[in-house]
């Protein structure tokens, strides 16, 4: 089972006339065991902007906390809410930031990294943070009541959909 399917989530969003809808399942699972049935995956950023985070729920929670932090700072600086398009680019940037971060360290730990052994000397390790295992679906209403939805993969490749296809979905 892939890491994206460890907790399980399904998110759908659709635009309409001056409106959008976004929906998610409410299951919190650990592989095949269901832990709770009241865990929605959609988070509110501000009144007119919602983000659904599918994938590994620990990363969804971490990512949501980071996004709220960024948005609150933005609100303090700009004295207004973030536009959906801006927010989508912010999320894309934050996801790509964690794409791969190689760092050579000397340690005895072995986790999430490769081991490079130099003969008879110290063990050097290349460790990468690895991406957030999360795929977001962003839905918001911009100025002039124009709805906006978009989605991206876990490393921030942005697909803006409201112009071409009127819906987006992510199941994993």
């Amino acid at each position: 089972m892939s890491i994206f399917e460890y907790n399980g989530s399904a998110i759908v969003a659709m635009v309409g006339k001056n409106c959008f809808a976004i929906a998610s399942d409410r299951r919190l699972g650990v592989q095949l065991q269901t832990i709770a049935t009241d865990f929605p995956k959609i988070y509110k950023i501000h009144d007119k902007l919602y983000i659904g985070l599918a994938g590994l729920l620990t990363d969804a929670q971490t990512l949501y906390q980071r996004l709220v932090y960024n948005h609150k700072l933005y609100q303090l600086r700009e004295e207004r809410d973030m536009k959906p398009e801006t927010f989508a680019h912010l999320v894309s940037h934050i996801l790509y930031e964690k794409r791969v971060r190689p760092a050579i360290t000397v340690s005895n730990n072995m986790f999430l990294g490769d081991l490079i052994r130099k003969e008879n000397t110290q063990i050097h390790r290349v460790c990468g943070f690895g991406p957030y295992f999360c795929q977001p679906v962003i839905a918001g209403i911009g100025d002039d009541d124009k709805p906006f939805i978009c989605t991206m993969d876990s490393i921030g490749a942005l697909y803006v959909l409201s112009l071409i296809f009127p819906y987006a979905f992510l199941v994993c």
Binding site: N109, L112, F129
Partner: protein, 205 residues
């Protein structure tokens, strides 16, 4: 093999854990307390790697105490849960703790609460939850018999049902369990359910 489960009742929260300390096929002891009392009104039941469990729960306990020293007021249960999740999330991509946690607490304003915190730092507020192989049996039992607003007697009765199920159906069922409760009067040990008593230390002749 390690079983931890918990539930929320009317004005209290219960956490139950097995008490065996095991290394592969050897049982070191059968009275190991895995539910740490964080402060006057919080319990942290943990299961997983024993070194990580002891280290991480002590770390959380000391930080909870530090907050109280610094700020003069105790942390709320939800703040403690978020702190614990944050620490686990920070460590996740460096050297993760393999500890699963059930955090139970009682706050003046919000009453009793129970938080499920996975070893990969997934945090959720729940009414009933369980970890380990025992969870297959205790969750099923609780799904059948749990309702919100149970009294202490009803809840302990349900706990006994779960323990009986674990003992009957789990191949390497732990022999002993400890039940701890937290309510407005504080966090304390409620009872033990022992089927094997550790032999006392024999004095040298």
């Amino acid at each position: 093999m390690e079983c931890v489960f918990g539930l929320v009742g009317k004005g209290f929260a219960l956490v139950v854990a097995d008490t065996s300390a095991v290394n592969s096929i050897l049982v070191h002891k059968s009275n190991e307390d895995k539910i740490m009392v964080l402060d006057s009104h919080k319990l942290l039941g943990a299961s997983g790697e024993s070194g990580d469990r002891a280290q991480f729960t002590e770390f959380v306990q000391k930080n909870v105490a530090l907050y109280q020293f610094r700020n003069g007021i105790p942390l709320t249960t939800s703040a403690t849960a978020n702190f614990t999740r944050g620490e686990l999330a920070k460590a996740l991509r460096k050297s993760p703790y393999s500890v699963n946690i059930l955090l139970a607490g009682y706050d003046e304003e919000t009453g009793p609460s129970l938080y499920y915190i996975d070893y990969i730092a997934t945090c959720h507020k729940i009414e009933k939850g369980a970890f380990g192989y025992g969870s297959y049996f205790s969750l099923a039992m609780m799904d059948r018999h749990y309702h919100s607003g149970m009294s202490v007697e009803e809840a302990v009765d349900l706990v006994d049902k779960c323990i009986l199920e674990i003992r009957t159906r789990l191949v390497v069922a732990p022999p002993n369990f400890v039940i701890k409760i937290v309510d407005k009067d504080g966090a304390r040990e409620y009872a033990w359910r022992e089927s094997i008593k550790d032999a006392g230390v024999v004095a040298a002749a």
